[in-house]
C-alpha cells in the first residue's frame, strides 16, 4: 500500500482514496456536513468533459465537486 498523500483533484477516473485532511476551513465544514469525513473512502466516478467538475462516490451517494474545491481535500491513494 502506498502512503503518499495527494490532493483529491489529482486523482484519475476510477481511482479510490481515503480522506486525510482539509486545507480550507470553510470548505472543510461544508464537506464534513455532507459526509466527507476523514477516513471515508472516495471513488472518482468521472470528470466532466472540460476536466471540471468531478463526480465522486462517497458513503453511498454521488457528489459533484469543482476541481478547485477538491484541491483542498488531502487524500491517501488506495492501491488497486
Amino acid at each position: 500500500m502506498k502512503n503518499k498523500t495527494i490532493r483529491l483533484s489529482d486523482l484519475r477516473k476510477g481511482e479510490s482514496c481515503v480522506i486525510e485532511s482539509f486545507t480550507d476551513e470553510q470548505m472543510k465544514q461544508k464537506l464534513l456536513e455532507m459526509g466527507c469525513l476523514p477516513g471515508e473512502v472516495i471513488t472518482v466516478d468521472r470528470f466532466a468533459p472540460l476536466g471540471c467538475p468531478m463526480a465522486i462516490s462517497v458513503s453511498g451517494s454521488v457528489l459533484s465537486i469543482r476541481t478547485d474545491e477538491a484541491d483542498s481535500v488531502i487524500v491517501r491513494i488506495l492501491s488497486e
Binding site: 461544508k30 464537506l31 464534513l32 457528489l63 459533484s64
Partner: protein, 711 residues
C-alpha cells in the same frame, strides 16, 4: 367577519433531494402560498391543512412552512440561513410549534446529521423516514423502535412518492409530542458560562440553541432580539473566548461519531450495499463526454420546439378569443373614455398577460420533469465549466435557451440556480436572447432591406440574416455575462458541491404543482405591474395635448357612428391622431436623440409603444403609415419602402437604417412583462432599472455604430 382560526405552525426540514417538496405537496395539496422570506429573495412556501383525529374525528388546523433544503443548521448561503434563523430565533414569525424532519432512508448518516441538530434544539419533532422502498431494495433493515429510543423522537417510515405511511404521520402530528431530555450531541460542557449567559438573556429551549446563537453572535441582525441583548451576547462570547469555528468542527465530528453508533445499533445490512445499478447505467450515457452532450442537445431541441411551436396553438386561441371578447365589451359598453380605457387599456393588458400562460406551462412541464427525475443535476455537471467562463452557472443553460422562446418563463426558471450572483447575471442577460416577439419585427425589416436572393446558390440571404440576428443575441448575452462577472459582487462564497441524486420517475403531481405555482406568481405578482404599464401606454397613445387631438378624435368617432367603411381617409385620420397623441409628441421629442441612429419621429413613436411588447412595432408602423389593421406586413412593407427621406431624397429605409433598427430591437429592453418578472424575482426595482439602462446603452451604441458605418 370570520374568526381567525388558530393554526399549529409546522416547519418542514430536510436535506436537498430527500423528498421534502413531495411530502409538502401531499400534506398541503393546492392550498399553498408562495412568497419570499422577509428581506431576502428566498422562496417561502407555506400551506395549510386540516387533520382529523382518527379516533375522535376532531379537526386540527396546521400551517406548514417548507424550509429550504440544507445539510446543516450552520448556513453557507442565504437559502440555508433561513432554516437556521427560523429554528433558532424564537421571535421569528415562522418559528414552529412542531418540526417534521424528513430523512432519506438510503442516506441515513447525512440525514440524521441535520435531524439530530434540530432535535437538540428541543423543538417538538417527528422524523419522517422517507424512501423506504429503496431502503428495502438495498437490503437495509432499520429497527424503528431502537431509532426512536436513541433519537428521542417518533420515527415514521414513509414512502412519499407512493403515499405510504402518511396517515400514520398525520396522526402523529396530533399527538402531544414531547422533547427528549437527553442531548444527542452533548452540548452543555462546551462553554457552560456562555450558554448560561445567553439563556438568561433569551427564552431558549436548549443549550444547543444557545450554542447556535453564540456561534452567530456577530451576525444576528435579522433576529428578533433587542439590540442591547445582542451586545450582551457578543460581549459574552468575547469574554469567554468562545471559538465558534473550532466548536463547529468538533461538533460535526462528534455528531457523526454518535450517529455512526446509532446506525450501527439500529440497522442490519442484510446484503452488500449496492447503488441502484440502473442509475450508473443511465449515467454512462447521459454523463458521457460525447453522448451526454448529444442527449442534452436533443432534449433542448425538443423543449425549444415544444415551446416555440406547440405553444402557438393555445396562444392563437387565447389571442382570438380575447380579441372577440374585447370587441363584444367594446360594443356592449356605452361609448366614451371609460369604454376605451377598459378595452384598450385594461383588457389589452390582461390579454397580454394571459397570452404567456401556454409558454410558462410548457417550459415548466419540461423543467419539472428534468428536476424531478434528477437529470438537472447532470446538466449542471456537464455545462458548469463552459458556463463558468462567462460568469454563469451550469444551470443557466436552461433559462438562456428558453429565452429564445420568451424571457418571461425563462427568468422564472432561474430559481434553480443556487448562487445569488450567477442567478442575477443569468436574469440580466437572458432578455438579450432573441425571443419570439422579435420575430415579427425582424421579419418586417428583413423583407424591407434584404433582397430575396440566394447566396452561393444554396443559402437564402434573408434566412442567413435572420440566423445572424439570433447569433448576435446569443453572443451579446454571454458577452454581457462575462462583463458583469467583474461588476456584480458575490453575496456569499458560492459552493458548487452538490449531490447527484439517483434517477427516479417524475411524480406527475409535483409537475402540476410546479406549473400552477409559476403561473400564480406570474399572474398575481407580475400581472399587476403589466396592467399598470398597459394603462399608461394606452393613455399615451390615445390621449393628446391641445385641441388638435380632440378634433381628430371627434372626426374619427363621427365617421364610426355614421358607419363610414374603413377607407383610406379614415386610416389617414388615425395616423394623424396618433401623431397628435402624447406618444406622437414623445416621438417628436425623441427625434433629435435617435437621429444619429437614422431614426425619425415615426420610428420614435414605435419605440415608445413597443415597450408593451416588441411585436407592437408592426402594429404601430401600420397605423403611422395608414395601412389599417395590423398584420398585413406586405402592405406595410411596400409603404415603408416607398417612404422618402426628405433630407437625402432617397428611400428612408436604407440598409443602414434597417440594420440599425434591427440591432436596436435585438438589444433594447422593450418588454414590460420581462421587467415585471425581473422585479418580482429580484425583490425590487433596482435590478430591472439597471437591466433597462444597460440594454438601452447597448442598443443605442450598437445602432449608432451600425448606422454610421453603413450609411
Amino acid at each position: 367577519m370570520s374568526v381567525k382560526k388558530k393554526h399549529v405552525k409546522i416547519s418542514l426540514v430536510g436535506n436537498p433531494n430527500s423528498g421534502k417538496s413531495t411530502l409538502f405537496n401531499i400534506l398541503t395539496g393546492l392550498n399553498q402560498k408562495i412568497a419570499n422570506f422577509p428581506g431576502v429573495t428566498v422562496e417561502k412556501k407555506t400551506g395549510r391543512c386540516k387533520i382529523y383525529n382518527s379516533a375522535t374525528g376532531e379537526p386540527t388546523n396546521f400551517e406548514i412552512t417548507d424550509l429550504p433544503g440544507t445539510y446543516s443548521l450552520y448556513p453557507k448561503s442565504p437559502d440555508e440561513r433561513i432554516p437556521f434563523q427560523v429554528l433558532c430565533d424564537p421571535g421569528d414569525e415562522n418559528h414552529p410549534d412542531l418540526v417534521i424532519l424528513i430523512a432519506d432512508g438510503t442516506n441515513l448518516k447525512r440525514s440524521l446529521f441535520l435531524a439530530s441538530q434540530v432535535i437538540d434544539l428541543k423543538i417538538p419533532a417527528v422524523l419522517a423516514l422517507n424512501m423506504m422502498d429503496l431502503v428495502k431494495e438495498q437490503g437495509l433493515d432499520i429497527t424503528i423502535k431502537d431509532l426512536e429510543l436513541r433519537l428521542g423522537v417518533r420515527v415514521i417510515p414513509i414512502n412519499a412518492r407512493k403515499g405510504e405511511g402518511l396517515e400514520e404521520l398525520r396522526q402523529t402530528l396530533l399527538l402531544n409530542l414531547t422533547v427528549p431530555d437527553h442531548d444527542i450531541f452533548e452540548t452543555k460542557d462546551l462553554a457552560p458560562k456562555v450558554f448560561k449567559g445567553i439563556r438568561e438573556q433569551l427564552n431558549l429551549r436548549s443549550d444547543y440553541a444557545a450554542l447556535q446563537i453564540a456561534h452567530h453572535a456577530d451576525s444576528l441582525e435579522d433576529f428578533h432580539i433587542a439590540s442591547k441583548q445582542k451586545e450582551t451576547i457578543l460581549e459574552l462570547t468575547k469574554l469567554h473566548l468562545f471559538e465558534g469555528i473550532k466548536i463547529q468542527s468538533f461538533e460535526t465530528l462528534e455528531r457523526y461519531k454518535v450517529i455512526h453508533e446509532i446506525i450501527k445499533d439500529c440497522t442490519i445490512q442484510s446484503q452488500e450495499i449496492q447503488k441502484p445499478s440502473s442509475t450508473k447505467r443511465i449515467d454512462r450515457i447521459l454523463m458521457h463526454r460525447f453522448w451526454g452532450y448529444v442527449c442534452f442537445l436533443g432534449i433542448l431541441f425538443l423543449m425549444f420546439q415544444a415551446i416555440f411551436s406547440l405553444a402557438s396553438f393555445p396562444m392563437n386561441f387565447i389571442d382570438q378569443t380575447f380579441a372577440g371578447f374585447s370587441e363584444q365589451v367594446h360594443n356592449l359598453l356605452p361609448k366614451g373614455v371609460l369604454n376605451d380605457l377598459i378595452v384598450n387599456g385594461v383588457l389589452a393588458g390582461i390579454g397580454g398577460i394571459i397570452i404567456f400562460i401556454p409558454q410558462i406551462a410548457l417550459l415548466f412541464t419540461f423543467i419539472a420533469i428534468l428536476e424531478d427525475t434528477g437529470y438537472m443535476a447532470r446538466v449542471s455537471f456537464l455545462m458548469d465549466k463552459l458556463m463558468r467562463k462567462f460568469g454563469l452557472n451550469g444551470r443557466s443553460v436552461i433559462p438562456l435557451i428558453s429565452g429564445v422562446a420568451c424571457a418571461v418563463p425563462a427568468i422564472l426558471s432561474t430559481r434553480t440556480i443556487g448562487s445569488w450572483k450567477e442567478r442575477i447575471i443569468t436574469i440580466m442577460v437572458t432578455p438579450l436572447m432573441s425571443c419570439s416577439a422579435r420575430l415579427p419585427v425582424y421579419t418586417l425589416l428583413i423583407a424591407l432591406i434584404i433582397p430575396q436572393k440566394m447566396l452561393f446558390g444554396i443559402f437564402n440571404l434573408q434566412g442567413l440574416v435572420m440566423m445572424s440576428l439570433y447569433l448576435i443575441g446569443f453572443l451579446a448575452a454571454i458577452g454581457s455575462a462575462a462583463f458583469m462577472h467583474w461588476f456584480v459582487k458575490a453575496k456569499e462564497k458560492a459552493y458548487f458541491i452538490m449531490e447527484i441524486p439517483v434517477y427516479r420517475m417524475p411524480r406527475w403531481s409535483n409537475i402540476v404543482y410546479a406549473i400552477v405555482e409559476k403561473i400564480r406568481i406570474f399572474l398575481f405578482d407580475a400581472g399587476k405591474v403589466i396592467i399598470a404599464i398597459s394603462i399608461i401606454l394606452w393613455f399615451l397613445s390615445s390621449r393628446g395635448p391641445g385641441e388638435k387631438y380632440n378634433t381628430l378624435n371627434a372626426q374619427i368617432d363621427s365617421m364610426a357612428v355614421t358607419g363610414v367603411p374603413s377607407t383610406n381617409l379614415n386610416y389617414h385620420l388615425q395616423a394623424q391622431r396618433l401623431e397628435a397623441s402624447y406618444a406622437g409628441k414623445m416621438g417628436h421629442i425623441l427625434e433629435p436623440v435617435i437621429k444619429p441612429l437614422g431614426f425619425d419621429w415615426k420610428i420614435g413613436i414605435a419605440l415608445v409603444t413597443s415597450f408593451a411588447a416588441r411585436e407592437v412595432f408592426v402594429g404601430t408602423m401600420s397605423t403611422i403609415y395608414s395601412v389599417g389593421q395590423q398584420g398585413e406586413s406586405m402592405t406595410i412593407r411596400d409603404k415603408m419602402q416607398a417612404e422618402i427621406n426628405p433630407e437625402t431624397g432617397g428611400p428612408r429605409y436604407t440598409p443602414a437604417v434597417g440594420w440599425s433598427l434591427m440591432l436596436f430591437y435585438a438589444f433594447a429592453m422593450q418588454c414590460m412583462s420581462t421587467m415585471a418578472v425581473v422585479r418580482r424575482e429580484t425583490g425590487g426595482w433596482k435590478w430591472p432599472i439597471i437591466q433597462f439602462s444597460y440594454m438601452a446603452v447597448l442598443a443605442y451604441v450598437s445602432s449608432l455604430i451600425a448606422f454610421q458605418l453603413l450609411k
